[in-house]
Amino acid sequence: MARGRQQRSSRTRRSAPGGGRLRAWGADHARAAIGALGRLSRSRVASGMTAGVLGVALALPAAFLLALDNLERHASGWDDGAQISLFLQEETSPDEQQGLAEEILQRPEVQRTRTVTPEQALAEFRELSEMDDAVAMLDDNPLPPLVVVYPEPGTPAGAVEALTRELGRKPAVARARLDLEWVQRLQAIMELSRRIAWLVAVLLALAVVMVVGNTIRLAIENRREEIVVTKLIGGTDAFIRRPFLYEGAWYGLLGGVLAVILVEGGRLVLSGPLERLAELYRTGPLLTGLGLDGILLVWLAGVGLGLCGSWVAVGRHLAAIEPR
């Protein structure tokens, strides 16, 4: 008789269609996710504070990296302004000067060239410096013929430097100067800032993992009896783990949402003064936001780190709870 019962129950289980089992599995996940969210909302103050800490920890690196992105965008505009000034030997004739400019223009890494004769240079100088009288006192034009070379935008700094050295060796060229150094310095500083930002991001990510881990550890402690009873009546490890993993993921998502609000809110606060600055300097928009990609990335980071934290807590503490 017992055998009959057994076979009957195992037959019903086996005959359950695959779709039904998948649905049960989905229902399990939905129950765990909704249950975890319910527990979060029941202890609103405590979970709010945890989410707040996570929000700040996620917002800081996001804001830092966003600011660097903005800075880089503007700096790349300046980068395109790189130019090589070739000061020629004084005795170079205008024809030779023109010939040299055309020869240089043939090079693929050169976008355009401009020639400035000593007379033009002097005129420009007068105009700019408003020192007509002083210049008039010169009996000889001291300015050399000049060829200005504009490299193709986006040419790497190293290539531009090599080009400068090479052009400087031409016999007609007295001196070659590259107006790039400050851009390089800026780029070096930004590279360093980026490294620092990532370092801070990694440390704060660690903090997020630890905060979530500790929160989940407490949640496990609070639900010890439930875990024990669930193990007693045949709950699998995955079943017991699931609500805690979802809890961690929810915390991460809440932190991510809060971080986006903080970053975008901060941008809003800065937008007034920045707009004025942009007007004065006639640049484009100075500060672009996270954008959809950035927002999703912050949320993903939050969820991922939250899962990480709860995974660590679950791994360390669930196994220790065995039915007594």
Binding site: R5, Q6, K231, T236
Partner: protein, 226 residues
């Protein structure tokens, strides 16, 4: 159904709770386990759903050698063995209904079937009208019946009960034992630990006697009132 062969259990610290235990319970049997306090009754029961592992000997359950059961298979073993405890082990922040539904939820029973099966189990133990109550509002006997409903709701072929009437007066005790007899009549194999030898002898089923971890008696006690 349940086979012990030379089973010994030594707890960490050296105490030998069970020694050289061999017996067999056939499918559909109802067997009592008796002996004074500390004789090893709880220990014996806990070995069956692998809440403890034996130190010696082997246990075969429904043809499965428990020593060879992988750790990850243990939950599935426990789903086939209904356990009832003296202290009920209910979840006090959940309703009677939720407590009884838990094994079904764990087993991934489709939501549509859960309500029907929970009510069927509650009906069997006579608590259908209390499904929305919280366990603290129930008497000891009622809580024990919730525990029984939870153990049988998945229709396991084996029921184990550790002092299920330990805190109850004689009348309620007989009522609870009556429930076990009813499950046994529909084919469930039942093993009940109880130190109440008087009650056991009145009920008239086979009983095993433990003393200091050894099996000292296996009485058939077929004649009612024995």
């Amino acid at each position: 159904m349940i086979e012990f062969d030379g089973v010994g259990k030594q707890y960490p610290g050296g105490h030998e709770a069970l020694r050289g235990l061999s017996f067999r319970v056939d499918p559909g049997e109802l067997v009592f386990l008796t002996g004074h306090s500390g004789a090893g009754k709880s220990t014996l029961l806990r070995l069956i759903p692998l809440l403890e592992r034996p130190s010696r000997g082997q246990i075969v359950l429904n043809g499965i050698n428990l020593a060879r059961l992988a750790r990850r298979r243990i939950p599935y073993l426990r789903r086939r063995v209904g356990m009832i405890f003296q202290d009920h082990r209910l979840l006090y922040d959940r309703t009677v209904y939720a407590n009884v539904a838990l094994p079904l939820v764990i087993a991934g029973t489709p939501a549509a079937d859960i309500g029907r099966r929970v009510r069927a189990a509650l009906d069997k133990v006579g608590l259908l009208h209390r499904e929305t109550a919280y366990p603290v509002t129930l008497s000891g006997g009622e809580q024990q019946r919730v525990g029984i409903a939870r153990a049988v709701v998945t229709r396991p072929p084996i029921l184990l009960a550790d002092e299920p009437t330990g805190n109850l007066d004689p009348e309620l005790s007989e009522e609870i034992m009556g429930l076990f007899e009813a499950f046994n009549r529909v084919g469930v194999t039942v093993l009940i630990a109880s130190h109440d030898l008087g009650l056991i002898q009145r009920l008239g089923h086979r009983y095993l006697r433990l003393s200091e971890g050894r099996l000292v008696g296996d009485t058939l006690n077929d004649g009612a009132g024995g």
